[in-house]
Symmetry: none
Subunit: 189 residues, 4 copies
């Protein structure tokens, strides 16, 4: 009588993966975008990345550190894109145009960057580690704006941009690029 295993063990042939750490950060942002921070449990992230649970704490030590690392990565990318736009703008009017485009194009995937940003904002209110990330973000984007606007205007622009962002992330009737452009122009010019 030959022994036949009734159930084959699940194959997980991924013992070696040098870029896993990076991949986990990207997956984390995907999961946050899809189900929100409240749903971004380590289990959910591990499942999405097809990785054993322990792999997450092995690479990041704790959930807090994983989220902080992922959000930091996200902010760095957003800030880089935004600063590039501001650097290339030739005039304040052009800067506004770039800003409007940024709001619609760069953060316009409503299932990804924009939602991630809002989740980050709100979570930051309670968690100091994340708060540091958002404050860094705010100060860096204000510095980008100050290439073209005085500090007071930059401040108000910032608030409006946050509002437009929230609105477009959460509202059922987001403002289109033309309406955004108009609101920005009214505020500044």
């Amino acid at each position: 009588m030959t022994s036949v295993p009734v159930r084959a063990p699940v194959r997980r042939p991924r013992r070696h993966e040098p870029e896993r750490r990076e991949r986990l950060l990207a997956t984390t942002l995907d999961v946050v975008a899809e189900v929100g921070l409240a749903g971004a449990s380590l289990r959910a992230i591990a499942r999405a990345a097809d990785v054993p649970l322990g792999s997450l704490t092995y690479h990041f030590g704790s959930q807090e550190k994983l989220l902080t690392a992922a959000f930091t990565r996200h902010v760095d990318a957003m800030v880089a894109r935004f600063d590039e736009r501001m650097r290339q703008a030739a005039s304040p009017a052009d800067a506004l145009e770039q800003l409007a485009e940024h709001l619609v194009v760069d953060v316009g995937h409503p299932d990804r960057d924009l939602v991630v940003a809002v989740e980050l904002y709100v979570a930051a209110a309670r968690r100091p580690a994340l708060r540091a990330v958002t404050e860094d973000w705010m100060s860096r984007s204000r510095r980008s704006l100050e290439r073209h606007f005085d500090p007071v205007t930059a401040r108000q622009l910032d608030a409006l941009v946050e509002g437009l962002l929230l609105h477009n992330a959460l509202s059922t009737e987001p403002l289109d690029q033309e309406q955004i452009r108009s609101a920005l122009a009214r505020l500044v010019l």
Copy 2:
């Protein structure tokens, strides 16, 4: 002779409390304001209200229903205050002044109404039942604004207000009333 209890129980039974349902809604908002939606477990709310755990599901059926009821109550109060301000405003300029005051005074307790509002906003993105509450809020406050402004302006004001709200809720350097007034005036006048 009156009966003397041998030992007083730790928890004082609160047999007769006709207003408990209302009290639980208020406590729920307090807890959300204090620890966030993520921390507002039924257990946490029951503890804060000094009520047995079962009392919550007994009165509200489920957590979702409890939160929906509590947020609805909160929105009703906010909308009432806001509409009262808009109704009493004699001119658009006055309306803006009232709006600025609303932002600073009515929702100015950074540990309470404002935080609750932001928590509600973000949660609404994921939960249909809450989404209905925020959409109701948005449409009602836009209607209040349209007492004084055309629909397009009202829309942009709404976005700016949301931005100012977010900013003041989460930023380390919130805008003061004068700065808020100035931003609103720039946008509208």
Copy 3:
């Protein structure tokens, strides 16, 4: 031939059990005696009591509180037995005899009371909550001894008793009652 089900569904027909709390304390001591404190995980205790895991934290809040409650119960029982012996002893010599008997008979089940006591002793060195239990134990048994001996002698007796206890719990060649009696007599008389 009777039909044998391949896999029977696990029966858990125990929704209501008024004395469960007490039963869990007893089971906890059994598990500590059997596998040591290090092995007395909540899972192990729940398995031994045939109870879902959550039942333990429901009744006791935390592992620390469960262990404290269980050890307190154990100590109370031990102290009661011991004090009863001391109370009935007519003379110091008789007290020694009772003491020897206590060591052999009362705590003589090497798989139960004695091992539990030693586990408690050592764990108390690291955990303040348990420490309070052992200190209570020590002071109460010394008070029992002082019914018949002066404080200095009682102190030394205490230490010897602890040593005999350790020895009999852990050694491969425990001392028998005659040897114990002899050691006690040498120390005191």
Copy 4:
């Protein structure tokens, strides 16, 4: 006794270290003394020794083997010190004096040797590999005692010594050297 750092400093590569094996054994005992056997995980030991985790299993194969080696080393040192004392004692009375001094001086650092000994004792009750170490210890120290006392007395002395050891390790009011000397003399002379 080297202090065990709570958090490992920045990892510096320690390519060439011929004495690492020995150093790891010493660190293991330090960790056991500080946080107990229950807290002496391979990770904790590796952190304390500033060594990669794999280094431990590389040198010792398993946790069990590491602990056995470390305790064996500890017992050898203790036995050597004790036997030296017994060898130098000129009379039974002198032997008792040496014994009292041993209890206070040699194992008197309540955060180190003594605690390690007690942890070892209790762990030995459950783990055969450690049990062999304690039995070796017991038989060797009894042989040392039998240089001056008959076997029966040596046996009782052993038990008392264990009791005094436990007492001084765990009690809040340890016996001082004079009290110890008195207890030993009462038992023997």
